[in-house]
């Protein structure tokens, strides 16, 4: 675009932006406005909130680790190789996106629960998901991975394939090329995708409740704790929501500033 004074169209768009900001941000203001800051802090003192927050951070870290570890090479494969049925595979990987979380929970149980398709095998291996912290991780991984996959795929797709070829001719094998050239080259998109997936995992509620329940210290993540205190202790729910918002907002902003700086 140009660097001239804005015309009516730009003015209208800025108006649209203001509208969008108001719509998306006022609810957040509304949450924060309802509780005095002092009270927010004091409400966190009670162990339930802190336990939930700690569990949320731990489980999302594990989920994100799994998503990144498996999703990164898979996204690269999908981005750089053409094969029959690729669109179908991509769609299958994206389906969790449209599944209502409760249905996702039932599905996870139907597949990996004690009576599920693979259930008894998993249970025997000590990897049962029903009412365990492992179930929390499974639910988060299930709902959040499409976010990472999609963003990572876009990042890999945008990478000049000649870079990987150059690396190969310089003596680096496929794995070394992936680790030393392909991943660093797509780092910006990967970090953004990871931030999105992390955000989605952090907010995950419905599937976790169905699969793992809401047991303090085992499966009561922050969103579940918020939900649990809705009717009884509304202020505590808001306080925890505010903390969740602050943490994830800071993370998203930090990632954006970091990758924005790193980009040319």
């Amino acid at each position: 675009m140009t660097s001239r004074r804005p015309g009516w169209f730009v003015a209208a768009t800025v108006l649209g932006l203001a509208f969008a900001l108001a719509f998306l941000f006022l609810p957040i203001v509304g949450i924060l406005a309802d509780v005095p800051p002092g009270e927010l802090v004091s409400r966190l003192d009670d162990g339930t909130s802190l336990d939930a927050l700690r569990l949320s951070l731990e489980t999302t870290a594990i989920s994100l680790g799994i998503i990144v570890a498996v999703g990164t090479p898979v996204a690269c494969l999908l981005a750089t190789r053409r094969f029959r049925g690729r669109a179908l595979v991509e769609t299958l990987l994206e389906l969790p996106l449209v599944l209502p979380p409760a249905v996702a929970g039932i599905g996870l149980l139907a597949a990996f629960g004690p009576q599920g398709l693979l259930g008894s095998a998993l249970d025997d291996a000590g990897l049962g998901i029903a009412l365990t912290t492992g179930g929390v991780v499974a639910a988060q991984t299930f709902v959040a991975s499409p976010f990472y996959l999609r963003q990572a795929q876009a990042a890999f797709g945008a990478l000049d394939p000649a870079l990987a070829e150059a690396s190969r001719t310089l003596g680096a094998g496929e794995a070394a090329t992936f680790g030393r050239v392909v991943v660093p080259g797509a780092a910006g998109g990967l970090v953004t995708g990871a931030a999105l997936a992390w955000g989605r995992a952090l907010g995950e509620f419905g599937a976790t409740l169905i699969v793992a329940g809401s047991f303090r210290g085992i499966s009561q993540t922050a969103p579940l704790a918020i939900f649990a205190s809705f009717s009884s202790d509304f202020t505590a729910a808001l306080a925890l929501s505010a903390v969740l918002l602050a943490v994830s907002g800071a993370l998203l902003l930090g990632v954006k500033l970091l990758t924005g700086e790193a980009a040319p």
Binding site: L131, L209, G213, F215, I218, S231, S232, D233
Partner: protein
């Protein structure tokens, strides 16, 4: 679980939170961990083979079904509750049951598939046809659990809703209860059972027993529940 005591997983109806939390804290044979949600969700989980140690439901129907399906040991009734019409404590426009039937009032009820919704329908069926029709016409939402009904009221989205009296007490002064005529009051009975195949049958049974006497019963009464009918 730390300190050698096993962790006892208790899936309980959302409305039991205010009673079970203090009970759990004082329960010594095991560390009690609670998952509070709609009784039907918890039942769906158990139907899928998920095995908490104890299931406590806001009705007797779901435990009976699961017992029949072999998922639970024999359920026991452990508490009763009463329905009320709840309204926002301040600035509400509904001050009586009849007022809830006036046009323009927004009423929320539980979905007929969850206990609170089933009970609400029983109440309405026993109210006078005029009031019942007026209230039904005012229903704007059928919520999947009682917490959602409470949230609608505390958020000011609705003017009145049918909840348990214990919920009004738990809402900490933000809701006011309007009592229902005795003849309209349904039989609200909570039943609990040990889940079949639990890894801690001894502690689970102790937990259920505690609901009938001792600290569990005291906590229930303190939260506003009533003893189960004989």
């Amino acid at each position: 679980g730390g300190g050698g005591a096993p962790t006892l997983k208790v899936s309980a109806a959302a409305s039991l939170k205010t009673a079970f939390t203090p009970y759990g804290a004082s329960f010594s044979p095991a560390r009690a961990a609670f998952s509070f949600a709609g009784s039907d969700e918890l039942a769906a989980q158990i139907r899928q083979g998920v095995k908490p140690d104890v299931f406590a439901s806001a009705n007797t129907r779901l435990p009976a079904q699961l017992y029949a399906a072999g998922k639970l040991e024999r359920p026991v009734d452990f508490a009763a509750n009463r329905l009320v019409l709840a309204v926002p404590a301040r600035g509400g426009k509904v001050h009586s049951l009849a007022a809830a039937a006036q046009p323009g009032v927004k009423v929320v009820v539980g979905s007929s598939t969850v206990p609170i919704g089933a009970y609400t329908r029983q109440v309405l069926a026993r109210l006078g046809p005029g009031t019942a029709r007026g209230i039904l016409a005012n229903v704007r939402s059928e919520e999947p659990d009682v917490s959602s009904v409470v949230a609608k009221l505390t958020q000011g989205a609705a003017d009145a809703g049918f909840v348990y009296v214990t919920d009004v007490r738990a809402a900490g002064g933000r809701l006011r209860a309007i009592g229902l005529p005795v003849r309209a009051q349904p039989r609200v009975v909570y039943a609990a059972a040990v889940v079949r195949g639990t890894g801690h049958p001894r502690q689970a049974r102790a937990f259920v027993r505690g609901l009938l006497s001792g600290p569990g019963r005291r906590a229930l009464l303190a939260a506003g529940f009533e003893p189960p009918p004989r």
